[in-house]
Symmetry: C2
Subunit: 440 residues, 2 copies
């Protein structure tokens, strides 16, 4: 670290939002995959093509509670002239030993039970007298209270075509089929499919572990007492929640006072459980900007271009930003500005895509849309800066919430969108179409 105060020169490169983001996305790599229990893999990205080891269903089975029959035996059956069949027993779901259904015979069969040999179709119980000899029934009697239902005779009132109410082996998926391809995000139905084909574990990229650390001697925990000149730490809470919202696990380290040695030691301590480190505050041009002070000198000596670089971005809020890698594992670190709105907007624009990249998700960005600006007076924006204003979006229109001030956290809590004002635009009239980032 140089002790000379930097001069204003042409070398003070102003980074565009896109350049900074590109640098981050070119550096951050998807996490190495691990084998996880199925339910632990929810929300994670599959890294393997999963093929079907066993056809689904694994055997021909009944789609109804009813009677397994031979087609010829029920041909022409009606309520007036029922086919009368001898019940040879029950076929319950999960039953391994199957009865044979011969001519004039039937087996009572439950939904999901294997079609017994000899049978060609299933007639639903509602098409029969359930063995009671007194007209159509709407259900079977429970086996536990009426074991006689598995024997005797049954009257069948309607014919059945071959394979009626039979789910064929492999009619869902066949052994060797591709069940899910690499890159699939595992939601509930995908987890259901993996279970159905017998996968108890699955190879995915794990949830990234995000350590969030706010800095500033003025910061007090929310349940503490404010002394003169102090404020409550909100960034570490908001960003921990935002990291989880992005799909990560997050650890809130809380506020570290403005002391470079303490900060450096704290970050080094945390690397063991960090896939990415996020700090807030201490990155600007002040004399107490400890993040900058502590991390500008932290080299990442094993890797060319390692270390944390501090930059000015052509954006508002969020001008000062730090990014790089740190420690033996080249852990990515994003040093965000300390104003609550600046840190939150920076998180959305830079940390969220980094987290999504670690997860291996294909589309790392928030959805954007076009909307008509609803406001009484024109919005103003500094020339040469991409401005992100807070807004509420509904039905193709967006209304600004609060002003441009990066300390307006109450307004942020009532926004659900960011209104983007491009670098070249200094004023946006009411009714203009603008780009909007939907915060979800």
């Amino acid at each position: 670290m140089s002790s000379a105060a930097p001069r204003v020169t042409g070398q003070d490169h102003l980074w565009s939002v896109s350049e900074h983001l590109e640098d981050i996305l070119a550096t951050v790599r998807p996490l190495d995959p691990i084998e996880l229990q199925l339910l632990d893999a929810q929300g994670c990205v599959l890294v393997e093509d999963v093929t079907v080891p066993v056809s689904l269903p694994p055997f021909d089975n009944s789609s109804m509670d009813g009677y397994a029959v031979r087609v010829a035996d029920v041909a022409g059956a009606s309520e007036e002239y029922p086919a009368v069949l001898t019940v040879v027993g029950d076929v319950a779901a999960g039953q391994a030993e199957l009865l044979h259904v011969g001519p004039g015979q039937t087996a009572r069969i439950m939904t999901g039970a294997p079609l017994p040999p000899g049978a060609e179709a299933v007639v639903p119980v509602e098409w029969t007298d359930g063995g009671l000899g007194a007209g159509p029934v709407s259900a079977m009697r429970a086996r536990s209270t009426s074991p006689e239902g598995a024997s005797g005779q049954v009257h069948v009132h309607r014919p059945a075509q071959a394979r009626a109410h039979v789910r064929a082996k492999g009619s869902d998926v066949k052994a060797g089929d591709l069940a899910l391809s690499a890159g699939t995000v595992l939601g509930p139905p995908q987890i259901g499919l993996l279970a159905a084909i017998g996968r108890g574990t699955v190879r995915v990229r794990p949830r990234p572990r995000v350590v969030v650390l706010s800095t500033g001697s003025e910061l007090v925990q929310p349940d503490g007492e404010l002394e003169s000149g102090q404020i409550y730490d909100s960034n570490s809470y908001a960003l921990c929640a935002a990291a989880r919202d992005a799909g990560a696990m997050s650890y809130r380290v809380g506020a570290v006072a403005d002391d470079a040695e303490t900060l450096r030691a704290t970050i080094e301590d945390q690397l063991i459980r960090s896939d990415i480190v996020v700090t807030t505050g201490g990155v600007s041009v002040g004399a107490y900007d400890v993040v900058k002070e502590a991390l500008s000198s932290v080299g990442d000596e094993d890797e060319a271009g390692g270390g944390i670089e501090f930059r000015k971005l052509a954006m508002q809020p969020g001008k000062p930003q730090g990014f790089g890698t740190i420690g033996p594992d080249h852990t990515p670190l994003l040093a965000l500005p300390g104003n609550p709105v600046s840190s939150y907007v920076s998180f959305e624009l830079f940390v969220r895509p980094a987290i999504r990249t670690l997860m291996g998700v294909a589309d790392v960005h928030r959805p954007t849309t076009r909307a008509t600006l609803r406001t009484d007076k024109a919005l103003t924006s500094p020339a040469g800066r991409r401005q992100f204003l807070r807004g509420r979006y509904a039905d193709g229109e967006v209304t600004p919430v609060g002003g441009a001030g990066s300390h307006l956290i109450a307004a942020l809590a009532h926004a659900d969108a960011l209104i983007v004002v491009p670098e070249s635009v200094e004023s946006v009239e009411p009714g203009t179409e603008v780009e909007v980032v939907l915060l979800g």
Copy 2:
């Protein structure tokens, strides 16, 4: 429980999807609120109006790293004719004891630090020589390496209006303002706001605890070996994941064999950790439908209308359904059919809204939209049943995925929408506009 097989009569009321849902929503009540640590309350619904106890910012403070000045002292200042001020010291963020800035004096001030008495405005460090006497600088030197920056003289190159770069006390929110109203779902920015106003804990409705239990003697854990007639249990996995996705905590009890006593005992055991119980399978008209058998006789004697009622719904898939309350706390229980697609669709239509109701969320339903049906041949649907077909939705169009079979779990895993075919419709031509439930 009656051992008579039910007869087909006019009393066999066929419930509509809406009637069943209304019954559920009229029975399920939001959970009692509890006080949670802020980050534990993420995704939960606030039950209190939260007012601001202390204005934000709590004091006038600097929005820049710079110098706190008296306006008259820098009037007319320029780079050629700078105002030369005596630096009386630093004002860092969080500093309690403040210097007084007298005429001809200035204090070096950091972003977020309180405006010291006597000072009226802040000039950014970039408008000064940073005390070095050699033209404009872009940043301060770090205090730790250059303590002399807090003394000596500074040249200021531009004038400042009163209150320039000063954030006024209360300019974000004022003490007594409503910060967030009851009913707000706590996302990252809301959690940030609560922290900022000093709330370490917050009163919310907790996440519902959902116990998921699949039944069927044919079910094997996904990492087990399939014997003849067996299939893998997928429902308990898919529904546990779906419950989490809805905002709940879920406990997978796994598959219970078709034995009514075991099932009843298992459910009673689980009630201690259940805000809602979901079972799959065993609710239809077969002789081994143990859920129906076990729960039809479980009264909820303390409450009129308690107990579990089994119904036929005018829908496909998902015709057989059970619903009621159970145990001393009148815990809601939904007994879903066992086919994977039936149980998942039933979860989306009935369990998810129940979970969202327990959470106290205002809008409990998935979003729906209208879409043009893209398909080669007309869809058919049974008269008098509301059919829910799986589809993929994009850009106002929906394409069916797989057929109507309720065992087609692979197709479900590639769907992101349900196509709704109303009770009165038996055929839907390609190009028709249909209602679509977006599964998100």
